[in-house]
Amino acid sequence: MAFLELDHVTKYFPNPDGAGEVCVFRDVAFGVERGEFLTMVGHSGCGKSTILNIIAGLETASQGGAVLEGREIRGPGMDRMVVFQNFSLMPWMTVAQNVRLAVRSAYASWSRAQVEDCVRRYVEMVGLTGAENKRPAALSGGMKQRVGLARAFATEPKVLLLDEPFAQIDALTRGVIQEELVRMWTASRNTVFMVTHDVDEAILLSDRIALMTNGPEARLAEIVEVKLPRPRSRADIIDEPEYARLRSHIIHFLVERSRHLQEQALAAGALRAHELVSAR
């Protein structure tokens, strides 16, 4: 069994039109090995953020579940930490206070000096030294997400969950922070589960990429391995033939197959419903 295992997870949401439920995704099963960086790619609405939230313990699966180190995930815990798309920093706290809140939660027994030392180290790691006493409102999107990364890495979680972490950051800054993430991850070797719809980002960062078909009735279609040597930088990998091959494979999937496979799934679902009715 893998370090982090998703065991045939299905999620229903109440139908927005009123009656009944909609199946967002069905039977999603995969494992993430210790120290692995796995990214899930798919269109909006395929439920990839919901899968991340199920691992985080913020949401529950309708069927199946997530298992971390052989234990079923039943709620949030300090062994997992999320970096959010919208940063989710406490706006009334300064940069240092935001990181400190996390550090003090992770290491309740630490002395004040230990906590301060840890906060300083992670603030420095993301290049925010000098901005410790600024509030999030005074920071750019890129700087806010640096705080988000510092907060998450500082708790040294077993699994780091990245929920489209760079989607709200301008393209130029995004590249810089992605490489900072590569550096931080290389140093810490956390297990990472990331969700994104940025294909280049997925290839740059991941060991494996899980491709989701479109929702509703989304499925995990396949998992592709990224065989590019590490450490990677954007400038290096862009000329690799493997990069071009992967990129075109994933984009083809997203443009055509993800919808095609969904239609098959929906047809199968309709058929199943029909069978159920006629069996009665």
Binding site: L58, A137, T155
Partner: protein, 265 residues
């Protein structure tokens, strides 16, 4: 001159014109001169200003129950009000947080709050006097009731509309109850709570004057009533302005606090 400065100048001029108009109308209503003109009607601005001068020159004297300095009376009122207001605020914030955290509880309690809200706090006075047998404590309790509901309703609203993200982060970080309360819920809801506290201190200040008129003894409310019994309308009018000024200062103070806890994301 920049447009912004022109605008400011215009505001000042309008303000002065309003003041002048008010004083003129007052003077006309007051009749001739207003000096010692009890028979001729209410005193004019000049007479009131003279009274104000005398009273403000020696605000803290104490010559027995019916003759205390105005500053002293204000002090009594403020102390009484603060007692009731602070207790009410603590209770209202705690209850408000509970209501805001649970939509079911809020819906269950809301009808009762809606019924309590429009009741003039003074309507409770006889009941409080009967149960407490102490006029001073009854007045404090009236203030307590008067400043309970706005803070409670605003706190419940503020806590109920805290962004999910902040709560999710505190769940992920497994914050203990006290830390969740003091580091996330209170600061997140602080702007709404302060808005409630501002309304509450206003209604508390309104209620204290009326309550003191009823209970007598000390305070600005009693002072106004006492001066009315002496037919000293100069003092009554001065006291009215002074009550207004204190109300503005209280609101201004809480406004400053509100600025401190304001945040934008």
């Amino acid at each position: 001159m920049t447009p912004a400065r022109q605008e400011r100048l215009r505001t000042v001029v309008y303000s002065l014109v309003l003041l002048a108009t008010f004083l003129v109308i007052w003077q006309v209503i007051a009749g001739t001169g207003g000096k010692g003109a009890k028979a001729a009607g209410i005193p004019g601005p000049v007479a009131v200003a003279q009274t104000a001068w005398v009273m403000l020159a020696d605000p803290f004297y104490d010559r027995g129950p019916n003759d205390k300095g105005f500053g002293l009376q204000l002090g009594y009122s403020l102390a009484r009000m603060m007692g009731g207001y602070l207790c009410a605020s603590v209770v209202a914030i705690l209850v408000g947080v509970a209501l805001g955290s649970s939509p079911a509880l809020f819906k269950a309690a809301n009808p009762f709050i809606q019924i309590m809200k429009p009741i003039s706090p003074l309507a409770w006075m006889p009941l409080f006097l009967y149960t407490l047998k102490n006029a001073g404590q009854a007045a404090v309790l009236v203030i307590f009731v008067s400043s309970l509901w706005p803070t409670m309703a605003n706190t419940a609203f503020g806590v109920g509309s805290i962004k999910r993200d902040y709560l999710n982060v505190s769940r992920l970080l497994q914050l203990s109850w006290p830390r969740r309360f003091f580091q996330v819920i209170l600061p997140a809801a602080a702007p709404a709570i302060l808005a409630g506290l501002r309304i509450s201190i206003g209604s508390a200040w309104v209620a204290i004057v009326a309550a003191e008129m009823l209970i007598g003894g000390t305070g600005v409310g009693y002072f106004v009533w006492n001066e009315w019994n002496n037919l000293a309308l100069n003092s009554v009018i001065f006291a009215i302005f002074a009550i207004g000024m204190v109300g503005v200062l209280l609101d201004f103070g809480l406004g400053r606090v509100a600025k401190l806890v304001a945040y934008s994301d």
